[in-house]
Amino acid sequence: MKEIVVLSGKGGTGKTSIVGSLAVVAQSKVLADCDVDAADLHLLLSPTVRDKNEFWSGQTAFIDAERCTQCGLCEEVCHFGAIKDYTVDEVSCEGCGFCARICPTEAITMKDNMAGYWFISETRYGTLVHARLGITQENSGKLVAVVRQNAKFITEREGLEYIIIDGPPGIGCPVISSLSGADMALLITEPTLSGMHDLDRIIGVCQHFGILALVCINKYNLNEENTHQIETYCHNQGVKVVSRIPFDNVVTEALVRGLPVVEYSDGKVSQEIKKLWRVVEGKSPPLQ
């Protein structure tokens, strides 16, 4: 079993569109959407939810006004500025429980957070494990870990070959939670200065955690000079470029119809994504 996580650093480079198409092309796999606070993969895969689960994580402090003597100690010790005028700002509270432990009249209790849902769904391309973090909830990294664990469990139980993970943008908590211990990171970039800057940081994260990284340049023809620079940069970093996908509005047309692009069209974009998967599987050599 191999776990492949699709990341980008910068948002909007095409992670979900490409994962949606890999879902069609790859045969023996489970899909996991680890972009839990803005999940979109379901819009391409039309899942039927088979199993919906609550995600309980973290706590929030509550002050009982009747018991509170307004001594102000809780506000004084809170490192997150979450208590003002003897009330808790639920959004700022990080659930450490410091206030509840030191309140002299035991007026503060910690309550568990229902921080979202996670789902096991069936799609026409196989099983999808996905999630929805509650609005303004924390602990996206923990929810990512739950999604990954379940995807792994199903993959092992059914004797499948791959877990394909649609990862979140950025380089922080949910990205590290999506990446740690994976077999390979497929990094989707675009030939813009922002895309290149962010690629450098996400490659840094992969190197930091010792994860093999492969790069796919999406919309490569938007700026071929930048594409060339990315290839040179990757070469110098010892990172392989496995694919160049042209810009084509057909990707958005397919999206509007709720379809992965490889199902909607057999044009250049679809052909490149099919080639990309053969390289990832080790059945074709990379571009460089």
């Binding site: 948002g11 819009l43 950025g170 908590c173 675009e190 800057h197």
Partner: protein, 280 residues
């Protein structure tokens, strides 16, 4: 006044809007741009500031004085983040899990815990053609963005119009970046992904009680559902930027719309006037 620029979905054009709005306003007003997308800060690519100050952002993590420690295990019991494990004759601290709440230090019965700073990243301040520029940057391999965002936001200059570039998503870093704004601009694209994530982002700003409006970028690319949604939710659309290869090309080279196509400056000034109108 603080205007945050957010989106839910990544890559919809937050930085494009934030930088061009800042530049257009800077001709007549005092402006500050605060890049709170600390995982992937990109505004500096467009505004090319000269940085004059750099501050390391750290959180207090526990340091155990094993001479005083009796291995009672109280610190491990109270830590909500499992950042401390106590064995018979050994205490292990996992600093990357620590949120810096300070409970263990305060509550240790032997006063055996002190705090030491653990650097998560930096906040840098500088100047770009009269625009005060502040950005947070998370270090590679670090997980916790909110403390850096919090520090960057503390640099708000009340004398200036502050424009905050928000990270994508809807979880804690986004909340930290938007919190305290007077107004939130939500940049989206007219596609099913753009709409799905816009609905989530609207949920965040409504929970925070911050007035918002929409900028549609790459108009013409997908369908009409974003407009229908805004109409049904009575959220005003203040600016529409078309799908245009010239704009995409400028963006790819790190050139702002306000500089590359100066005729857009008028539209950004108009956008600002409309925001002021909505706040009145």
């Amino acid at each position: 006044m603080i205007i945050s620029v957010a989106s839910g979905k990544g890559g919809t054009g937050k930085t494009l809007v934030a930088t061009s709005l800042a530049l257009s306003l800077s001709k007549n007003s005092k402006v500050q741009l605060i890049d709170c997308d600390v995982e992937e800060p990109n505004a500096h690519i467009f505004l090319k500031p000269t940085f004059t100050q750099q501050e390391i952002v750290s959180i207090p993590v526990p340091k155990i004085d094993e001479g005083r420690c009796t291995y009672c295990g109280k610190c491990a019991e109270i830590c909500a983040y499992n950042a401390i494990a106590v064995f018979q004759k050994k205490v292990l601290v996992f600093p990357e899990l620590c949120h810096g709440c300070g409970a263990c230090t305060y509550l240790c019965p032997e006063h055996a815990i002190s705090e030491e700073g653990r650097g998560l990243g930096v906040v840098e301040t500088g100047n770009s053609n009269g625009i005060k520029f502040t950005q947070g940057k998370l270090s590679i391999g670090e997980m916790m963005a909110p403390p850096i965002i919090r520090r960057a936001k503390e640099c708000v200059d009340p004398e200036r119009v502050a424009i905050v570039d928000v990270p994508p998503g809807t979880s804690c870093p986004v909340v930290e970046a938007i919190k305290g704004s007077d107004f939130c601009l939500l940049v989206t694209e007219p596609t099913p992904f753009g709409l799905n994530d816009l609905v989530l982002a609207v949920g965040v700003v409504r929970k925070l009680n911050i007035p918002c409006a929409i900028v549609i970028n790459r108009a013409g690319v997908g369908d009409k559902k974003v407009e229908e949604y805004c109409l049904s939710e009575s959220i005003p659309i203040l600016l529409t930027i078309p799908l245009d290869t010239r704009i995409a090309s400028l963006y790819s080279k790190g050139i702002t719309l306000a500089e590359g196509m100066p005729e857009w400056q008028e539209s950004f000034l108009d956008l600002f006037d409309k925001i002021k109108g909505l706040l009145r």
